[in-house]
């Protein structure tokens, strides 16, 4: 079976600063891949290249599900099934939680340019269903600005779920939360990923989470792949311990 995602020799520079320098990344269907590494290692930039947000000016080739998708816009990638969340969660903060969900459902329903309020109402059921899945049903009428940080993370995850992604790029899904909340959130996310058969690439600093969830871990440093392997291999890698695991935490 061909890999779902095959990225070759990916590079990206901002002025003189090289953020990503010739990274290869091959992801099997159904895999859960973690990207770890110190700050400035190029993890988020790599996610943004894969998600299309930083595709402009990036070098290398990306194949998704067999097609060359290098340089495609985020919306094209999203339509092909690449969904992502951001380090600082991006939601529509002046709208209600339910509206956020509805807005996320529009592209798949083909209703972005529709004027029919009725058809929007039909989507409400779906929106409610996803909100229940991500544990936000009781928040549905609240303006996003007024919900908690953790709830916003849940919402953003739900919004991406609404696009029915095949590949999910999560950028620090559990950052900035207390231990219990973090565990609950990750359990919920993992459950959804498993049930929907979604392939996962995630950036995370919490090593416990990384080792619990990931099938394969890619360690990045200074824009390059430093090491790659299953959790046991990475855990026993002396260099990784020295450079990242030792100093980072």
């Amino acid at each position: 079976m061909p890999p779902l995602l095959e990225a070759r020799n990916i590079s990206k520079a901002f002025g003189r600063f090289v953020a990503v320098a010739g990274v290869d990344l091959v992801i099997r269907k159904g895999e859960r891949r973690a990207l770890i590494g110190p700050n400035g290692a190029g993890k988020s930039t790599l996610l943004s290249i894969l998600g299309g947000q930083q595709a402009g000016g990036a070098g290398g080739q990306v194949r998704f599900d067999g097609d060359d998708v290098s340089g495609l816009q985020p919306e094209d990638l999203a339509r092909r099934g690449v969904g992502r969340t951001f380090q600082i969660s991006r939601t529509f903060r002046k709208m209600t939680v339910a509206e956020n969900m509805l807005a996320s459902l529009l592209p798949r329903a083909g209703l972005i340019y529709s004027l029919s309020t009725q058809r929007l109402n039909i989507l409400r059921e779906q929106a409610d269903a996803i909100l229940t899945e991500v544990g936000l049903a009781r928040r549905s009428g609240t303006i996003v600005d007024e919900i908690s940080h953790g709830d916003r993370k849940r919402l953003e995850f739900g919004m991406v779920l609404a696009t029915r992604p095949r590949l999910l790029l999560l950028d620090e899904p559990a950052a900035g939360m207390g231990l219990q909340e973090r565990q609950e959130l990750m359990a919920m996310m993992l459950d959804q990923v498993t049930r929907n058969g979604i392939t996962l690439i995630f950036v995370e600093h919490d090593i416990d989470i990384v080792f619990r969830i990931a099938d394969v871990i890619t360690v990045m440093a200074r824009g390059r792949v430093f090491a790659e392997g299953n959790p046991q291999e990475i855990a026993s890698n002396k260099d990784v311990q020295d450079i990242y695991l030792g100093s980072g935490h």
Partner: protein
């Protein structure tokens, strides 16, 4: 229909009846002023669609107002189109121009977007100003049609009121529709919408074109109102007027621009009659609004419990 909707409909109906009463009860002078306010309110509402919902601040919205006026006037003067048909030419011309300029502008954002809309408007203005043989140049087009088609001020006011209400109805439905939701989403975070599978530029363009069309409708009504067309109608002064109305009335509110149009035009009209320094007064009011009531009059009204058709739908 929910209770909230019914409540809102009653308020709209009440406001419409009140407007009609004002038009007819106080003589032609008030009817004329009222009509101007309604036309400018429509213009400001069209700007509000892209500003409050689409997240785009335009410095060139008057281009479409001006083209609405010229589309109508030129159809009659240069192409001998029957007036009834010419009425449609204004908004259509504005719509087409918005499509053309908009497709360039939505590629940019923030101040760069604003400056490109300004450039497009100034180019429009210059063409209207310089092409004497076709547009009449800076001295404009006058006396090609009887002002208000000869209707009494009251009657024409009523016509404008009906057009305004229909337009608001359409805009209200648009805002509540899937496209409206898309426009609001893109307005808040185009990045996010793109990652969800939207083409944010195309959504912005849709909003821009609709706004341009309604601005053109307002411009056409204005041209009929005065029976003339001048390049100034596409100039920066009109854009600034509309921006000020939206801000005074209240950003992020559906009806804000209407409040804004009423207050701003009453100020501009009456203060300038008694005080030479009317701009000073407008400046102070503007500053007070931004500092003291950043949600404008609609925000104040909402605090007092008057529904302002805010963003919840």
């Amino acid at each position: 229909m929910t209770a909230h909707h019914r409540h809102e409909s009653i308020i709209w109906l009440g406001a419409a009846v009140a407007a009609a009463v004002v038009l007819f009860a106080f003589g032609p002078g008030i009817a004329l002023l009222g009509t101007e306010i309604m036309i400018m309110a429509l213009f400001a509402c069209s700007l509000n669609l892209i500003m409050s919902y689409g997240g785009m601040v335009s410095f060139g919205h008057a281009a479409y107002f001006g083209l609405g006026a010229y589309g109508f006037a030129l159809a009659i003067v240069r192409f001998d189109v029957p007036p009834a048909l010419a009425l449609a030419c204004g908004p259509i011309l504005a719509l087409l121009a918005a499509l053309l300029f908009g497709s360039l502008c939505v590629r940019l954002s923030h101040i760069y977007f604003a400056m490109l809309t300004l450039a497009c408007a100034e180019i429009t203005y210059a063409i209207l100003f310089q092409a004497y043989d076709f547009t009449g140049g800076d001295t404009g087009l006058t006396r090609f049609v009887a002002p208000r088609f000869g209707l009494t001020p009251q009657l024409y006011g009523l016509v404008v009121l009906v057009v305004l209400l229909l337009s608001l109805l359409i805009l209200r439905r648009l805002v509540a529709s899937p496209l409206g939701l898309a426009i609001r989403s893109v307005g808040e975070d185009p990045y996010r919408t793109a990652a969800l599978g939207y083409n944010p530029r195309r959504v912005q363009l849709a909003a821009f074109v609709v706004a341009g069309g309604f601005a053109g409708l307002a411009g056409m009504l204005f041209s009929v109102f005065h029976g003339n067309a001048f390049p100034d109608y596409a100039g920066l002064a009109f854009t600034l007027d509309a921006l000020v109305m939206v801000v005074i009335g209240g950003l992020h509110s559906f009806v804000g621009p209407i409040y804004g149009a009423i207050i701003y035009l009453l100020m501009k009209t009456f203060i300038s009659r008694y005080v030479g320094e009317w701009e000073l007064v407008v400046g102070i009011v503007l500053m007070a609004v931004v500092l003291g009531a950043p949600r404008g009059l609609a925000g104040l009204a909402a605090r007092l419990g008057i529904p302002s058709g805010g963003r919840k739908s």
